[in-house]
């Protein structure tokens, strides 16, 4: 089978790579101290087998062809440097499938490549703050207490009087406190749904829930619980 044929056949690509927790044979050959010619062949096979996947990752960081190819090339260079140091890390901890591991590593390398070229993005410090988060909080509140509010009552903080701003801050603080009491999986569930806007089906896969049904069911249960806690803390409405 030619390289092109491999690239056009993701099913074969996946079958070759997706031995859960097992090191793909070409990777084993690459890292096991085989003669240079054999290692070069193994590298070529490894690249051909996973090129579609790596191109898919590169497309998450760039849209133009040249940008995608730059990112793809950067990933290959980084995977090969220091005698395949990164690939050896997979061998040392191969709990995940090689495919999944490769996507996570390649995505990290693509982000690194993007930052080297364009600098960090404004949201790059990993913390959650600012007006976007405040809007998300308001949206969550609206979702959580639908029986208490109508859409018109959700106000823009910028238009509030001073005392109302204090009330909004207290409301947000109350919500933050209540959210902190939740199980980490529930907090991630809410974040994925209301801050990252992921569909329930995708959340179900990420959190290993049986179906989107279970996501909706869990969300409904969380709304009830959060509403009860917010009311207990004196938050009767999303309006100040």
């Amino acid at each position: 089978m030619t390289v092109d044929a491999v690239l056009q056949n993701p099913a074969r690509d996946h079958r070759m790579a997706d031995h859960r927790g097992a090191v793909p044979p070409e990777l084993a050959q690459l890292l096991n101290g085989a003669p240079p010619a054999d290692r070069d062949r193994a590298w070529t096979t490894l690249v051909a087998t996973h090129s579609r996947l790596l191109m898919g990752v590169a497309r998450t960081i760039a849209t133009e062809h040249d940008g995608v190819m730059d990112a793809y090339t950067y990933v290959l260079e980084r995977l090969r440097e220091d005698d395949y140091r990164r690939l050896r890390a997979y061998v040392a901890d191969s709990r995940a499938t090689f495919t999944t591991w490769l996507v996570v590593v390649a995505r990290g390398l693509c982000v690194d490549h993007h930052r080297r070229r364009y600098g960090r993005t404004p949201r790059g410090n990993g913390t959650e703050s600012g007006s976007g988060s405040q809007r998300a909080v308001r949206r969550r509140l609206f979702e959580l207490v639908p029986s208490m509010v109508d859409l018109a009552s959700i106000v823009d903080e910028h238009d509030l009087a001073a005392d109302e701003s204090v009330q909004v801050a207290q409301r947000d603080q109350a919500l933050a406190v209540v959210l902190d009491t939740l199980d980490p999986a529930d907090r991630v569930l809410l974040k994925l749904r209301f801050e990252d806007d992921l569909p329930a089906r995708e959340i179900a896969t990420i959190l290993q829930m049986p179906s989107a049904f279970h996501v909706y069911r869990r969300l409904a249960s969380l709304y009830t619980s959060l509403r009860r806690h917010l009311v207990a803390r004196g938050v009767e409405s999303s309006a100040p």
């Binding site: 993701p10 099913a11 690509d13 996946h14 997706d18 859960r20 927790g21 996947l53 898919g56 990752v57 998450t60 890390a89 997979y90 901890d93 709990r95 995940a96 499938t97 495919t99 999944t100 591991w101 996507v103 996570v104 590593v105 995505r107 990290g108 982000v111 949201r123 790059g124 410090n125 990993g126 913390t127 959650e128 703050s129 988060s133 405040q134 909080v137 947000d172 603080q173 919500l175 933050a176 980490p184 999986a185 907090r187 991630v188 974040k191 994925l192 801050e195 990252d196 992921l198 995708e202 896969t205 990420i206 290993q208 989107a212 049904f213 279970h214 909706y216 069911r217 409904a220």
Partner: protein
């Protein structure tokens, strides 16, 4: 609201193992705690999940195909004995709202259409409530097991949308319920015919 992750960023190996469901309980809790507070790590994890989507689908496709075939076979085996009236009257088989004998299968009681119902106009699916706050997934399949329409709703009745055009032939419909207590219930496949 400002959140700062108070745990270390998970390693690439941990994120990959998380996506594959291979972390220990404690390690998974630690990673989730971090994801809850670190938008950047959460974003990277979800991007990786999206990229993996087609590959995961490829892995599942043969399994789903097999399940579909098995479901079609099962529907034939299960549904045909339920067709209890060997010589129904014309009025009975052509009434979409025939509700005289609700059929209870595995917890959800189907009201209409019952087996052998024949339609030439709007099809309304009805079933008994599974309890307060239950939600339902209705699936309509053709004879080959292919899903021609499915929907999720909290109500216990729904009409087939106009934009879903069923060609003449036999179909099967089923309801899966998610109950308020986290349990689930099913109504087995029922047959109807579009003429």
């Amino acid at each position: 609201m400002t959140e700062r992750p108070d745990t270390q960023h998970p390693s690439d190996e941990q994120v990959a193992a998380f996506l594959d469901g291979r972390l220990t309980t404690n390690e998974r809790a630690q990673v989730l705690t971090h994801f809850a507070a670190c938008a950047e790590c959460r974003r990277e994890m979800t991007v990786a999940h999206k990229v993996l989507g087609p590959w995961r689908d490829v892995r599942r496709a043969p399994i789903f195909g097999l399940v579909t075939v098995l479901a079609a076979v099962l529907a034939f085996v299960v549904v045909r004995p339920i067709a209890h009236d060997p010589a129904p009257s014309a009025a009975a088989v052509r009434s979409p709202d025939r509700v005289s004998q609700p059929d209870r299968l595995a917890g959800i009681t189907v009201v209409a259409p019952l087996d052998q119902a024949v339609f030439d106009s709007t099809i309304v699916f009805r079933w008994r409530s599974g309890g307060v706050d239950a939600t339902y997934r209705l699936t309509v399949q053709d004879r080959s097991g292919g899903v021609v329409w499915d929907t999720t709703l909290a109500d216990t009745a729904v009409a087939l949308p106009r934009q879903v055009v069923l060609v003449k032939g036999q179909y099967f419909w089923s309801v899966d319920a998610q109950l308020a207590d986290g349990g689930s219930a099913k109504a087995g496949a029922h047959q109807f015919t579009v003429r």
